[in-house]
């Protein structure tokens, strides 16, 4: 049984199919990059993973559990923008990750001390201690995304979803964010899905790269068919698959 199971998922808006027959199995701890042309449904796929939208057919399960009906604490998310709360300071944004799941939205007094310590650790980890008491509006784009990732990780989700998280950043900051994300991933071993427009980024970060495209195309009615996963690249060894295939067959190795 794989960690995330996507079985025969269809999605259509107003009778127009966007995605059709999407099937994929994801192992725990894999980093999945999702690429594709604009409007091919990769963000739709991410929203369905998030359970912000429900598929019109099929099901998405985490570890064989019931398909989620609304976004919940199992799935963390970072969007391209608007991911942090503008009315909370950087520290409060991190604490929100712990406080929001209480019935009234505030941490009880007892829990506050340890939560403060954890938030301080995260602040140090994401390198925002020096701006802990500023509001997000005064941070740069890269800092805001670091905060958004830190906030999502504070809630310790089982799956982290990234919707073009570095799309609005300049190339230099983007490279820093890649390193930051790879370090975090090495530390937490979390399963990550990332939608990206940047093929280089997708292959650099991902273990697998899923390509969304339309397998059927009606020239008289381009919207007739939806997209699906047309390629599932193994990006682990520099994007060139089967480099280590002999490792799987010790007998062949010996024969050679």
């Amino acid at each position: 049984m794989s960690f995330v199971t996507v079985r025969d998922v269809w999605q259509s808006y107003g009778g127009r199919p966007i995605l059709e027959r999407v099937n994929v199995d994801i192992e725990e701890g894999e980093f999945i990059s999702i690429v594709g042309a604009s409007g091919c449904g990769k963000s739709t796929f991410l929203r369905m993973l998030l359970a912000q939208e429900l598929p019109s057919r099929g099901a998405i399960q985490i570890e064989g559990g019931d398909p989620a009906k609304e976004p919940g604490i199992e799935r963390g998310v970072v969007f391209q923008k608007y991911s942090v709360f503008p009315h909370l300071t950087v520290r409060q944004n991190l604490l929100a990750a712990e406080g929001f799941c209480t019935p009234l939205g505030f941490l009880p007094r007892k829990a506050r001390k340890s939560a403060n310590m954890r938030s301080q650790n995260t602040l140090d980890r994401i390198g925002l201690s020096h701006v802990a008491d500023q509001y997000p509006a005064s941070l740069s784009g890269g800092m805001q995304q670091r905060l958004a990732i830190g906030q999502a990780l504070m809630a310790t989700p089982r799956v982290l979803l990234l919707d073009e998280p570095f799309g609005a950043l300049d190339p230099g900051t983007r490279l820093q964010m890649h390193d930051f994300l790879m370090e975090l991933r090495a530390e937490t071993g979390m399963t990550i899905f990332m939608v990206s427009h940047d093929l280089e980024e997708a292959f650099k970060l991902g273990d697998r790269v899923l390509v969304f495209d339309k397998p059927r195309w009606d020239p008289h009615d381009p919207g007739l068919y939806g997209a699906t996963i047309t390629y599932d690249f193994d990006a682990r060894t520099g994007g060139i698959p089967y480099q280590n295939i002999l490792n799987d067959y010790p007998g062949l190795m010996a024969a050679e």
């Binding site: 998030l50 912000q52 609304e70 976004p71 919940g72 604490i73 799935r75 963390g76 998310v77 969007f79 923008k81 608007y82 991911s83 942090v84 709360f85 503008p86 009315h87 909370l88 929100a96 990750a97 406080g99 929001f100 799941c101 209480t102 019935p103 009234l104 939205g105 505030f106 509001y135 997000p136 509006a137 958004a148 906030q151 999502a152 809630a155 989700p157």
Partner: protein, 270 residues
């Protein structure tokens, strides 16, 4: 240089700021002088010093019959009605507006109703209010509430709808319930808007208050203006009008500063 790129420097902008006020005072003084030289007992445009003397008399000398200074009594009772009405409106509009903005069920249930309600001309309801609530304080406060609540509610609901979906989804992925999203995500972001709403609707609130006081009352700023109109006491009327303007300006200034200090994250957004 294009006109849109020309910016006045500091002294000039102060001068421009003062210009309309000075112009109106000068125009009034000239007009008043012309009329008074033609007819010293003219009552329509009393001389500025007459207005000043009347103002001083109004704010310091008690009424002979009731032994109170009517000016301050009028002020307090009008302010009481106004602030009470606006406070009720703000509370109702905040609760209903947030519910409409956040809950699809409430949106289906209330949003068209509120939209239709905001089309009802409040002053046309005044007779009904007098019949139902009598001529006392209640009908005046209710008129203010009826007059400004629908508009404020619609605006609050719209502001909640304007909160990016990303934020609401994010809050859910952090485990927030509907109540937590309402109280910790939507409410803090809507409160500055509520204050600017109150600022905008204070004008209408004054209008409704003075209309209600003019029709049936025995104390209040609007009542006094319409009472002394019978004696053509322009000096009293002008004193009261200026005083109402000052009060409205102070209220507006206070609210502006409250939102500046209470919501530092808004920065220049106000």
């Amino acid at each position: 240089m294009r006109l849109i790129n020309r910016v006045p420097d500091r002294p000039l902008s102060v001068f421009l700021l003062a210009l309309p006020f000075v112009a109106i005072c000068v125009a009034y003084a000239i007009g008043s002088d012309i009329r008074l030289t033609a007819n010293p007992s003219d009552k329509l445009l009393p001389a500025p010093e007459t207005i000043w003397n009347t103002a001083m008399r109004l704010i310091s000398e008690p009424d002979r019959r009731s032994e109170t200074i009517l000016f301050w009594r009028d002020t307090w009772s009008s302010l009481y009605r106004l602030l009470f009405g606006v406070a009720i409106s703000a509370t109702i509009s905040l609760i209903v507006g947030m519910a409409i903005g956040l809950l699809p069920f409430m949106r289906s249930f209330m949003s068209t109703f509120v939209a239709v309600l905001s089309m009802v001309p409040p002053l046309a309801l005044l007779p009904i209010l007098f019949i139902v609530f009598g001529l006392g304080e209640v009908s005046k406060i209710v008129l203010i509430v009826v007059g400004i609540t629908p508009f404020m509610t619609r605006d609050i609901a719209q502001r909640v709808l304007d909160i990016p979906t990303e934020q609401l989804v994010k809050a859910q992925t952090l485990g927030a319930s509907t109540w937590v999203i309402a109280s910790r995500v939507a409410l803090p972001q809507v409160l500055p808007r509520l204050i600017s709403n109150v600022r905008l609707s204070l004008g209408s609130a004054w209008l409704f208050l003075i209309a209600a006081e003019a029709v049936a009352s025995n104390v209040g700023l609007g009542y006094r203006i319409f009472l002394v109109r019978r004696y053509l006491a322009m000096d009293v009327i002008l004193t009261y009008v200026i005083w109402i303007t000052i009060l409205a300006f102070i209220l507006d200034w206070l609210l502006k500063n409250v939102s500046k200090y209470a919501f530092p994250w808004m920065e220049e957004g106000l």
